[in-house]
Protein backbone atom coordinates (compact mmCIF):
# COMPACT_ATOMS: atom_id res chain seq x y z
CA UNK A 1 0.00 0.00 0.00
CA UNK A 2 1.52 3.29 -1.06
CA UNK A 3 0.67 6.62 0.47
CA UNK A 4 -0.34 9.48 -1.79
CA UNK A 5 0.71 13.08 -1.44
CA UNK A 6 -2.85 14.00 -0.49
CA UNK A 7 -2.93 11.31 2.16
CA UNK A 8 0.42 12.45 3.47
CA UNK A 9 -0.80 16.05 3.66
CA UNK A 10 -3.94 14.97 5.47
CA UNK A 11 -1.95 12.84 7.85
CA UNK A 12 0.45 15.67 8.52
CA UNK A 13 -2.44 18.02 9.24
CA UNK A 14 -4.01 15.56 11.67
CA UNK A 15 -0.75 15.10 13.48
CA UNK A 16 -0.15 18.83 13.53
CA UNK A 17 -3.51 19.31 15.23
CA UNK A 18 -2.62 16.66 17.80
CA UNK A 19 0.74 18.28 18.30
CA UNK A 20 -0.77 21.70 18.95
CA UNK A 21 -3.02 20.13 21.54
CA UNK A 22 0.03 18.94 23.44
CA UNK A 23 1.86 22.28 23.34
CA UNK A 24 0.34 23.70 26.52
CA UNK A 25 1.67 20.68 28.42
CA UNK A 26 5.10 21.23 26.96
CA UNK A 27 5.02 24.90 27.89
CA UNK A 28 4.03 23.96 31.43
CA UNK A 29 6.96 21.59 31.61
CA UNK A 30 9.36 24.25 30.41
CA UNK A 31 7.93 26.75 32.88
CA UNK A 32 8.47 24.22 35.64
CA UNK A 33 12.04 23.71 34.54
CA UNK A 34 12.60 27.45 34.50
CA UNK A 35 11.27 27.76 38.03
CA UNK A 36 13.71 25.04 39.02
CA UNK A 37 16.47 27.09 37.47
CA UNK A 38 15.45 30.04 39.59
CA UNK A 39 15.75 27.98 42.74
CA UNK A 40 19.20 26.77 41.93
CA UNK A 41 22.40 28.45 42.92
CA UNK A 42 23.86 26.93 39.81
CA UNK A 43 21.67 29.20 37.72
CA UNK A 44 24.31 31.83 38.20
CA UNK A 45 26.70 29.57 36.37
CA UNK A 46 24.24 28.89 33.58
CA UNK A 47 25.95 30.81 30.84
CA UNK A 48 27.51 33.37 33.11
CA UNK A 49 30.85 32.49 34.64
CA UNK A 50 30.82 29.02 33.20
CA UNK A 51 33.44 27.32 31.15
CA UNK A 52 33.99 28.13 27.53
CA UNK A 53 32.75 25.71 24.95
CA UNK A 54 36.29 24.63 24.25
CA UNK A 55 36.98 24.08 27.91
CA UNK A 56 33.82 22.04 28.19
CA UNK A 57 35.24 19.63 25.68
CA UNK A 58 38.30 19.24 27.84
CA UNK A 59 36.12 18.60 30.86
CA UNK A 60 33.96 16.18 28.93
CA UNK A 61 36.79 14.22 27.44
CA UNK A 62 39.48 14.74 30.03
CA UNK A 63 42.75 13.13 29.11
CA UNK A 64 41.05 10.09 27.65
CA UNK A 65 41.64 10.30 23.94
CA UNK A 66 39.54 7.24 23.34
CA UNK A 67 36.67 8.87 25.13
CA UNK A 68 37.19 11.93 23.00
CA UNK A 69 37.02 9.88 19.85
CA UNK A 70 33.92 8.09 21.05
CA UNK A 71 32.25 11.36 21.92
CA UNK A 72 32.85 12.78 18.48
CA UNK A 73 31.36 9.76 16.84
CA UNK A 74 34.39 9.32 14.65
CA UNK A 75 33.53 12.49 12.77
CA UNK A 76 36.79 14.36 12.37
CA UNK A 77 36.56 18.06 11.70
CA UNK A 78 38.94 20.96 12.09
CA UNK A 79 36.83 22.32 14.91
CA UNK A 80 36.86 19.08 16.85
CA UNK A 81 40.06 19.95 18.62
CA UNK A 82 39.99 23.70 18.42
CA UNK A 83 39.19 26.27 21.04
CA UNK A 84 35.81 27.83 21.71
CA UNK A 85 36.08 29.86 18.54
CA UNK A 86 35.66 26.61 16.66
CA UNK A 87 32.18 26.21 18.05
CA UNK A 88 29.33 28.31 16.76
CA UNK A 89 27.11 28.66 19.76
CA UNK A 90 27.21 32.42 19.29
CA UNK A 91 30.01 32.72 21.82
CA UNK A 92 27.93 30.99 24.43
CA UNK A 93 29.59 29.38 27.38
CA UNK A 94 28.79 26.72 29.92
CA UNK A 95 25.45 24.99 29.82
CA UNK A 96 24.09 27.51 27.32
CA UNK A 97 26.62 26.27 24.78
CA UNK A 98 25.22 22.79 25.31
CA UNK A 99 21.68 24.12 24.87
CA UNK A 100 22.70 25.71 21.57
CA UNK A 101 24.30 22.47 20.40
CA UNK A 102 21.20 20.51 21.37
CA UNK A 103 18.90 22.94 19.56
CA UNK A 104 21.05 22.69 16.45
CA UNK A 105 20.93 18.88 16.52
CA UNK A 106 17.16 18.99 16.91
CA UNK A 107 16.88 21.46 14.03
CA UNK A 108 18.99 19.12 11.91
CA UNK A 109 16.70 16.22 12.71
CA UNK A 110 13.64 18.30 11.82
CA UNK A 111 15.25 19.36 8.56
CA UNK A 112 16.30 15.81 7.67
CA UNK A 113 12.88 14.32 8.34
CA UNK A 114 11.39 17.13 6.24
CA UNK A 115 13.74 16.25 3.40
CA UNK A 116 12.54 12.67 3.66
CA UNK A 117 8.89 13.69 3.71
CA UNK A 118 9.43 15.95 0.70
CA UNK A 119 11.15 13.15 -1.19
CA UNK A 120 8.31 10.81 -0.29
CA UNK A 121 5.70 13.28 -1.47
CA UNK A 122 7.56 13.60 -4.76
CA UNK A 123 7.59 9.84 -5.20
CA UNK A 124 11.37 9.62 -4.96
CA UNK A 125 11.38 6.94 -2.28
CA UNK A 126 9.11 4.47 -4.00
CA UNK A 127 6.43 2.95 -1.84
CA UNK A 128 6.06 4.75 1.51
CA UNK A 129 3.98 2.70 3.95
CA UNK A 130 1.50 4.74 6.03
CA UNK A 131 3.18 3.66 9.27
CA UNK A 132 6.48 5.05 8.06
CA UNK A 133 4.85 8.35 7.09
CA UNK A 134 3.24 8.51 10.53
CA UNK A 135 6.57 7.78 12.15
CA UNK A 136 8.38 10.53 10.23
CA UNK A 137 5.75 13.21 10.84
CA UNK A 138 5.35 12.39 14.54
CA UNK A 139 9.05 12.18 15.25
CA UNK A 140 9.66 15.41 13.37
CA UNK A 141 7.11 17.17 15.57
CA UNK A 142 8.71 15.82 18.70
CA UNK A 143 12.08 17.10 17.56
CA UNK A 144 10.45 20.50 17.00
CA UNK A 145 9.25 20.35 20.61
CA UNK A 146 12.74 19.48 21.78
CA UNK A 147 14.27 22.36 19.82
CA UNK A 148 11.65 24.68 21.30
CA UNK A 149 12.54 23.52 24.81
CA UNK A 150 16.23 24.25 24.34
CA UNK A 151 15.53 27.56 22.62
CA UNK A 152 13.21 28.51 25.44
CA UNK A 153 16.13 28.12 27.82
CA UNK A 154 18.33 30.20 25.56
CA UNK A 155 15.83 33.01 25.12
CA UNK A 156 14.98 32.85 28.81
CA UNK A 157 18.61 33.62 29.50
CA UNK A 158 18.48 36.57 27.12
CA UNK A 159 20.20 34.78 24.26
CA UNK A 160 18.90 34.39 20.72
CA UNK A 161 17.21 31.17 19.72
CA UNK A 162 19.22 28.80 17.53
CA UNK A 163 17.62 28.43 14.12
CA UNK A 164 20.57 26.83 12.38
CA UNK A 165 21.58 23.21 12.27
CA UNK A 166 24.67 21.33 13.44
CA UNK A 167 26.72 21.92 10.29
CA UNK A 168 29.42 19.52 11.39
CA UNK A 169 27.03 16.59 11.45
CA UNK A 170 25.12 17.85 8.44
CA UNK A 171 28.24 18.03 6.28
CA UNK A 172 29.82 14.83 7.52
CA UNK A 173 26.76 12.62 7.77
CA UNK A 174 23.45 13.96 6.52
CA UNK A 175 24.31 15.56 3.20
CA UNK A 176 26.32 12.59 1.89
CA UNK A 177 23.71 10.13 3.13
CA UNK A 178 20.73 12.02 1.70
CA UNK A 179 22.34 11.84 -1.71
CA UNK A 180 22.13 8.08 -1.46
CA UNK A 181 18.64 7.78 0.01
CA UNK A 182 16.52 5.98 -2.57
CA UNK A 183 13.89 4.32 -0.40
CA UNK A 184 12.44 4.36 3.10
CA UNK A 185 14.99 1.84 4.37
CA UNK A 186 17.83 4.19 3.42
CA UNK A 187 15.98 7.03 5.11
CA UNK A 188 15.35 4.96 8.23
CA UNK A 189 19.05 4.12 8.48
CA UNK A 190 19.97 7.80 8.29
CA UNK A 191 17.30 8.68 10.85
CA UNK A 192 18.67 6.01 13.18
CA UNK A 193 22.11 7.61 13.03
CA UNK A 194 20.69 11.00 13.98
CA UNK A 195 18.57 9.61 16.80
CA UNK A 196 21.53 7.75 18.26
CA UNK A 197 23.75 10.84 18.01
CA UNK A 198 21.11 12.94 19.77
CA UNK A 199 20.57 10.39 22.55
CA UNK A 200 24.32 10.01 23.08
CA UNK A 201 24.80 13.78 23.16
CA UNK A 202 22.15 14.19 25.84
CA UNK A 203 23.56 11.35 27.92
CA UNK A 204 27.04 12.81 27.60
CA UNK A 205 25.62 16.16 28.65
CA UNK A 206 24.10 14.67 31.79
CA UNK A 207 27.08 12.55 32.68
CA UNK A 208 29.99 14.79 31.76
CA UNK A 209 29.15 18.32 30.73
CA UNK A 210 26.05 20.01 32.15
CA UNK A 211 26.45 21.76 35.49
CA UNK A 212 22.97 23.10 36.19
CA UNK A 213 20.28 20.74 37.39
CA UNK A 214 17.77 22.45 35.07
CA UNK A 215 19.85 21.58 32.03
CA UNK A 216 20.28 18.05 33.34
CA UNK A 217 16.52 17.72 33.72
CA UNK A 218 15.83 18.95 30.19
CA UNK A 219 18.39 16.53 28.78
CA UNK A 220 16.96 13.78 30.94
CA UNK A 221 13.43 14.37 29.73
CA UNK A 222 14.46 14.21 26.07
CA UNK A 223 17.16 11.51 25.91
CA UNK A 224 14.73 8.65 26.69
CA UNK A 225 12.42 9.84 23.90
CA UNK A 226 15.23 9.84 21.34
CA UNK A 227 16.00 6.31 22.51
CA UNK A 228 12.39 5.35 21.85
CA UNK A 229 12.70 6.66 18.31
CA UNK A 230 15.87 4.61 17.95
CA UNK A 231 14.24 1.42 19.26
CA UNK A 232 11.33 1.64 16.83
CA UNK A 233 13.71 2.29 13.93
CA UNK A 234 15.79 -0.74 14.94
CA UNK A 235 12.63 -2.84 15.06
CA UNK A 236 11.45 -1.76 11.63
CA UNK A 237 14.91 -2.28 10.15
CA UNK A 238 14.97 -5.85 11.47
CA UNK A 239 17.48 -5.35 14.29
CA UNK A 240 16.82 -6.28 17.89
CA UNK A 241 15.28 -3.01 19.15
CA UNK A 242 16.99 -2.74 22.53
CA UNK A 243 20.49 -4.10 22.03
CA UNK A 244 22.11 -2.66 25.15
CA UNK A 245 21.35 -2.80 28.87
CA UNK A 246 22.86 0.63 29.30
CA UNK A 247 22.76 3.70 27.10
CA UNK A 248 26.12 4.83 25.75
CA UNK A 249 27.76 8.13 24.87
CA UNK A 250 29.32 6.81 21.68
CA UNK A 251 28.83 9.38 18.92
CA UNK A 252 27.98 12.24 21.27
CA UNK A 253 28.57 15.69 19.81
CA UNK A 254 30.29 18.51 21.67
CA UNK A 255 29.82 22.28 21.67
CA UNK A 256 32.75 22.64 19.28
CA UNK A 257 30.45 21.64 16.43
CA UNK A 258 29.72 24.38 13.95
CA UNK A 259 26.18 25.72 13.96
CA UNK A 260 24.92 27.35 10.83
Amino acid sequence: MQISEAQLSSLTQDLDDMHRATLPKMQEAIAELRSDEGASRRTFLFGAAGLTAGALVVVACGSDNNASNRASGGIVTPSSSSSSSGGSGGGLTGDLAVAALAASLENLAVQTYQAGLDAAAQGKLGMVPPAIATFATTVQMQHKDHAAAWNSILTGAGKPAVTGVDKTVQDAVVTPALANVHNVVDLAKLALQLEDVAAATYLNGIQNVLQDVAGIKVSGSIQPVEMQHSAVLHLVLGDYPIPDSFAKVDGARTPTDTIG
Binding site: S40, P129, A131, T134, T138, G220, V232, S245
Partner: protein, 280 residues
Protein backbone atom coordinates in the same frame (compact mmCIF):
# COMPACT_ATOMS: atom_id res chain seq x y z
CA UNK B 1 5.34 -14.12 7.20
CA UNK B 2 6.82 -16.96 9.28
CA UNK B 3 9.63 -16.05 11.58
CA UNK B 4 13.10 -17.01 10.48
CA UNK B 5 14.41 -18.77 13.57
CA UNK B 6 17.96 -18.80 12.28
CA UNK B 7 17.87 -15.06 11.70
CA UNK B 8 16.32 -14.53 15.11
CA UNK B 9 19.06 -16.63 16.70
CA UNK B 10 21.70 -14.61 14.90
CA UNK B 11 20.07 -11.41 16.07
CA UNK B 12 20.05 -12.69 19.62
CA UNK B 13 23.72 -13.61 19.34
CA UNK B 14 24.53 -10.17 18.01
CA UNK B 15 22.52 -8.68 20.82
CA UNK B 16 24.38 -10.80 23.34
CA UNK B 17 27.68 -9.60 21.95
CA UNK B 18 26.50 -6.02 22.27
CA UNK B 19 25.31 -6.83 25.75
CA UNK B 20 28.72 -8.20 26.70
CA UNK B 21 30.34 -5.04 25.38
CA UNK B 22 27.89 -2.96 27.36
CA UNK B 23 28.62 -4.94 30.51
CA UNK B 24 32.31 -4.22 30.11
CA UNK B 25 31.45 -0.55 29.88
CA UNK B 26 29.21 -0.89 32.91
CA UNK B 27 31.89 -2.57 34.95
CA UNK B 28 34.14 0.35 34.17
CA UNK B 29 31.29 2.63 35.22
CA UNK B 30 30.82 0.71 38.42
CA UNK B 31 34.50 1.08 39.13
CA UNK B 32 33.87 4.78 38.80
CA UNK B 33 31.08 4.44 41.33
CA UNK B 34 33.51 2.93 43.80
CA UNK B 35 36.06 5.63 43.15
CA UNK B 36 33.48 8.40 43.38
CA UNK B 37 32.10 6.99 46.60
CA UNK B 38 35.55 6.77 48.14
CA UNK B 39 36.40 10.26 47.00
CA UNK B 40 33.17 11.61 48.36
CA UNK B 41 33.61 9.97 51.72
CA UNK B 42 37.19 11.25 51.86
CA UNK B 43 36.47 14.83 50.87
CA UNK B 44 32.95 15.39 52.08
CA UNK B 45 30.10 16.67 49.97
CA UNK B 46 29.28 19.78 48.01
CA UNK B 47 26.42 21.13 50.07
CA UNK B 48 25.62 23.78 47.51
CA UNK B 49 24.98 21.07 44.97
CA UNK B 50 22.74 19.15 47.26
CA UNK B 51 20.76 21.90 48.97
CA UNK B 52 17.55 21.26 47.10
CA UNK B 53 18.01 17.53 47.37
CA UNK B 54 18.55 17.79 51.10
CA UNK B 55 15.57 19.93 51.82
CA UNK B 56 13.17 17.66 50.02
CA UNK B 57 14.49 14.16 50.55
CA UNK B 58 15.63 14.51 54.15
CA UNK B 59 12.33 16.06 55.12
CA UNK B 60 10.54 13.22 53.42
CA UNK B 61 12.49 10.55 55.24
CA UNK B 62 12.32 12.28 58.59
CA UNK B 63 8.58 12.94 58.39
CA UNK B 64 7.93 9.49 57.11
CA UNK B 65 9.78 7.72 59.88
CA UNK B 66 8.65 10.14 62.57
CA UNK B 67 5.09 9.64 61.42
CA UNK B 68 5.49 5.93 62.00
CA UNK B 69 6.78 6.58 65.50
CA UNK B 70 10.17 5.16 64.61
CA UNK B 71 12.31 8.18 65.42
CA UNK B 72 13.09 9.80 68.70
CA UNK B 73 14.30 13.39 68.95
CA UNK B 74 17.96 12.43 68.76
CA UNK B 75 17.54 10.26 65.74
CA UNK B 76 15.40 12.87 64.04
CA UNK B 77 18.23 15.36 64.41
CA UNK B 78 20.67 12.81 63.08
CA UNK B 79 18.53 12.14 60.03
CA UNK B 80 18.19 15.86 59.46
CA UNK B 81 21.93 16.42 59.43
CA UNK B 82 23.21 17.09 55.92
CA UNK B 83 26.01 14.53 55.90
CA UNK B 84 23.81 11.71 57.10
CA UNK B 85 20.91 12.68 54.89
CA UNK B 86 23.02 13.08 51.79
CA UNK B 87 24.67 9.70 52.04
CA UNK B 88 21.53 7.99 53.22
CA UNK B 89 19.32 9.38 50.51
CA UNK B 90 21.61 8.36 47.68
CA UNK B 91 21.82 4.85 49.08
CA UNK B 92 18.06 4.66 49.47
CA UNK B 93 17.49 5.95 45.96
CA UNK B 94 19.78 3.21 44.62
CA UNK B 95 18.04 0.59 46.77
CA UNK B 96 14.63 1.75 45.61
CA UNK B 97 15.77 1.49 42.01
CA UNK B 98 17.00 -2.06 42.67
CA UNK B 99 13.65 -2.88 44.22
CA UNK B 100 11.86 -1.65 41.11
CA UNK B 101 14.13 -3.82 38.97
CA UNK B 102 13.43 -6.82 41.21
CA UNK B 103 9.74 -6.15 40.82
CA UNK B 104 10.01 -5.90 37.03
CA UNK B 105 11.91 -9.19 36.85
CA UNK B 106 9.29 -10.92 38.97
CA UNK B 107 6.39 -9.49 36.97
CA UNK B 108 7.87 -10.45 33.60
CA UNK B 109 8.55 -13.99 34.77
CA UNK B 110 5.12 -14.36 36.33
CA UNK B 111 3.31 -12.87 33.35
CA UNK B 112 5.22 -14.99 30.86
CA UNK B 113 4.07 -18.09 32.71
CA UNK B 114 0.38 -17.25 32.30
CA UNK B 115 -1.30 -19.89 30.10
CA UNK B 116 -2.51 -17.44 27.45
CA UNK B 117 1.00 -16.02 27.10
CA UNK B 118 2.32 -19.46 26.21
CA UNK B 119 -0.22 -20.01 23.47
CA UNK B 120 0.55 -17.02 21.26
CA UNK B 121 1.00 -18.22 17.68
CA UNK B 122 4.32 -17.71 15.93
CA UNK B 123 5.95 -15.51 14.89
CA UNK B 124 4.51 -13.41 17.73
CA UNK B 125 4.97 -16.18 20.28
CA UNK B 126 8.69 -16.60 19.59
CA UNK B 127 9.16 -12.85 19.44
CA UNK B 128 7.50 -12.35 22.83
CA UNK B 129 9.58 -15.12 24.41
CA UNK B 130 12.78 -13.59 23.01
CA UNK B 131 11.74 -10.13 24.23
CA UNK B 132 10.88 -11.33 27.73
CA UNK B 133 14.15 -13.26 28.01
CA UNK B 134 16.23 -10.31 26.87
CA UNK B 135 14.31 -7.77 28.93
CA UNK B 136 14.58 -9.82 32.12
CA UNK B 137 18.33 -10.08 31.50
CA UNK B 138 18.56 -6.31 31.03
CA UNK B 139 16.56 -5.63 34.20
CA UNK B 140 18.89 -8.03 36.02
CA UNK B 141 21.85 -6.00 34.77
CA UNK B 142 20.16 -2.83 36.01
CA UNK B 143 19.42 -4.36 39.41
CA UNK B 144 23.06 -5.39 39.77
CA UNK B 145 24.22 -1.91 38.79
CA UNK B 146 21.97 -0.21 41.33
CA UNK B 147 22.92 -2.65 44.08
CA UNK B 148 26.60 -2.15 43.29
CA UNK B 149 26.02 1.59 43.61
CA UNK B 150 24.20 1.13 46.93
CA UNK B 151 26.93 -1.03 48.44
CA UNK B 152 29.71 1.16 47.12
CA UNK B 153 28.07 4.11 48.85
CA UNK B 154 28.06 2.26 52.13
CA UNK B 155 24.62 0.66 51.99
CA UNK B 156 23.43 -2.88 51.51
CA UNK B 157 22.04 -4.53 48.41
CA UNK B 158 18.28 -4.66 47.95
CA UNK B 159 17.15 -8.12 46.90
CA UNK B 160 13.43 -7.59 47.41
CA UNK B 161 10.82 -5.97 45.16
CA UNK B 162 9.23 -2.58 45.79
CA UNK B 163 6.67 -3.77 48.29
CA UNK B 164 4.40 -0.75 47.97
CA UNK B 165 3.99 -1.16 44.23
CA UNK B 166 3.75 -4.91 44.59
CA UNK B 167 0.94 -4.67 47.13
CA UNK B 168 -0.94 -1.70 45.72
CA UNK B 169 -0.52 -2.21 41.99
CA UNK B 170 0.85 -5.57 40.90
CA UNK B 171 -0.96 -7.99 43.19
CA UNK B 172 -4.41 -6.49 42.52
CA UNK B 173 -3.73 -6.29 38.78
CA UNK B 174 -2.39 -9.75 38.05
CA UNK B 175 -5.74 -11.56 38.40
CA UNK B 176 -7.36 -9.03 36.05
CA UNK B 177 -4.98 -9.74 33.16
CA UNK B 178 -7.13 -11.63 30.68
CA UNK B 179 -4.93 -11.79 27.62
CA UNK B 180 -1.66 -10.76 25.98
CA UNK B 181 -2.86 -7.19 25.38
CA UNK B 182 -3.55 -6.70 29.09
CA UNK B 183 -0.13 -8.08 29.98
CA UNK B 184 1.68 -5.92 27.44
CA UNK B 185 -0.08 -2.76 28.60
CA UNK B 186 0.62 -3.57 32.23
CA UNK B 187 4.30 -4.20 31.55
CA UNK B 188 4.49 -0.93 29.62
CA UNK B 189 3.10 0.88 32.66
CA UNK B 190 5.73 -0.64 34.93
CA UNK B 191 8.46 0.37 32.51
CA UNK B 192 7.11 3.92 32.55
CA UNK B 193 7.21 3.98 36.34
CA UNK B 194 10.81 2.78 36.27
CA UNK B 195 11.89 5.31 33.62
CA UNK B 196 10.17 8.22 35.40
CA UNK B 197 11.60 7.24 38.77
CA UNK B 198 15.10 7.19 37.37
CA UNK B 199 14.61 10.53 35.61
CA UNK B 200 13.50 12.03 38.93
CA UNK B 201 16.63 10.65 40.58
CA UNK B 202 18.89 11.99 37.82
CA UNK B 203 17.82 15.43 38.99
CA UNK B 204 17.94 14.59 42.68
CA UNK B 205 20.85 12.40 43.74
CA UNK B 206 24.09 14.09 44.68
CA UNK B 207 26.56 11.35 43.83
CA UNK B 208 27.69 11.87 40.25
CA UNK B 209 28.39 8.22 39.54
CA UNK B 210 24.97 7.21 40.82
CA UNK B 211 23.40 9.92 38.69
CA UNK B 212 25.24 8.53 35.69
CA UNK B 213 23.91 5.07 36.43
CA UNK B 214 20.34 6.37 36.56
CA UNK B 215 20.91 8.31 33.33
CA UNK B 216 22.26 5.30 31.47
CA UNK B 217 19.28 3.14 32.44
CA UNK B 218 16.21 5.42 32.19
CA UNK B 219 16.33 5.50 28.40
CA UNK B 220 16.54 1.72 28.17
CA UNK B 221 13.40 1.35 30.28
CA UNK B 222 11.71 3.83 27.99
CA UNK B 223 12.78 1.70 25.03
CA UNK B 224 11.18 -1.35 26.64
CA UNK B 225 8.03 0.72 26.98
CA UNK B 226 8.22 1.80 23.33
CA UNK B 227 8.34 -1.75 22.05
CA UNK B 228 5.56 -2.85 24.40
CA UNK B 229 3.38 0.03 23.18
CA UNK B 230 4.12 -0.94 19.59
CA UNK B 231 3.09 -4.51 20.31
CA UNK B 232 -0.04 -3.28 22.07
CA UNK B 233 -0.95 -1.19 19.01
CA UNK B 234 -0.59 -4.24 16.77
CA UNK B 235 -2.67 -6.40 19.09
CA UNK B 236 -5.37 -3.75 19.29
CA UNK B 237 -5.42 -3.59 15.50
CA UNK B 238 -5.85 -7.36 15.33
CA UNK B 239 -2.47 -7.72 13.67
CA UNK B 240 -0.80 -10.23 15.99
CA UNK B 241 0.91 -11.77 12.96
CA UNK B 242 2.98 -8.58 12.61
CA UNK B 243 4.52 -8.88 16.07
CA UNK B 244 8.07 -9.68 15.01
CA UNK B 245 11.48 -8.10 14.60
CA UNK B 246 11.50 -6.56 11.13
CA UNK B 247 7.79 -6.60 10.36
CA UNK B 248 6.69 -5.95 6.76
CA UNK B 249 6.36 -2.17 6.96
CA UNK B 250 3.78 -1.98 4.20
CA UNK B 251 1.38 -4.10 6.25
CA UNK B 252 1.69 -2.11 9.47
CA UNK B 253 -1.31 -0.03 10.51
CA UNK B 254 -0.60 3.70 10.36
CA UNK B 255 -1.03 3.98 14.15
CA UNK B 256 1.95 1.68 14.68
CA UNK B 257 4.14 4.45 13.31
CA UNK B 258 3.74 6.55 16.44
CA UNK B 259 2.40 4.24 19.15
CA UNK B 260 5.80 3.69 20.74
CA UNK B 261 6.51 7.29 21.70
CA UNK B 262 3.32 9.07 22.75
CA UNK B 263 5.02 12.03 24.44
CA UNK B 264 7.71 14.49 23.38
CA UNK B 265 9.13 14.55 26.90
CA UNK B 266 9.48 11.97 29.63
CA UNK B 267 7.77 13.25 32.75
CA UNK B 268 8.12 12.41 36.44
CA UNK B 269 4.51 12.38 37.56
CA UNK B 270 4.58 8.62 38.06
CA UNK B 271 7.98 8.45 39.72
CA UNK B 272 8.11 6.46 42.93
CA UNK B 273 9.47 8.10 46.11
CA UNK B 274 13.21 7.65 46.56
CA UNK B 275 12.80 5.94 49.94
CA UNK B 276 10.02 3.57 48.97
CA UNK B 277 12.16 0.54 48.22
CA UNK B 278 14.99 1.20 50.65
CA UNK B 279 16.28 -1.68 52.74
CA UNK B 280 14.41 -1.60 56.01
Amino acid sequence: MPIDNRALTELMEQSDDLHSDAMRTTKAGLADVVEQGRARRASGVDLDETTTYQSTRTDLLTKSLAGMGLLGVGLTKLFASPAFGQASMDVQAAQTAASIENLAIAVYNQAAALPFMQNIPDPAGSTVVAFVTKTVQQHTDHMKAFNAAATNLGGTAQDKPDQVVLDSVVTPALPTLQGPLDVVKFAAQLELVAAETYLAEVGAVSDKALRNTFASIMGVENQHRAILLEVAALLEAGAVQLVMVGPPADQLPAAAGSAGFPDSFLKTDQARPATEGAVK
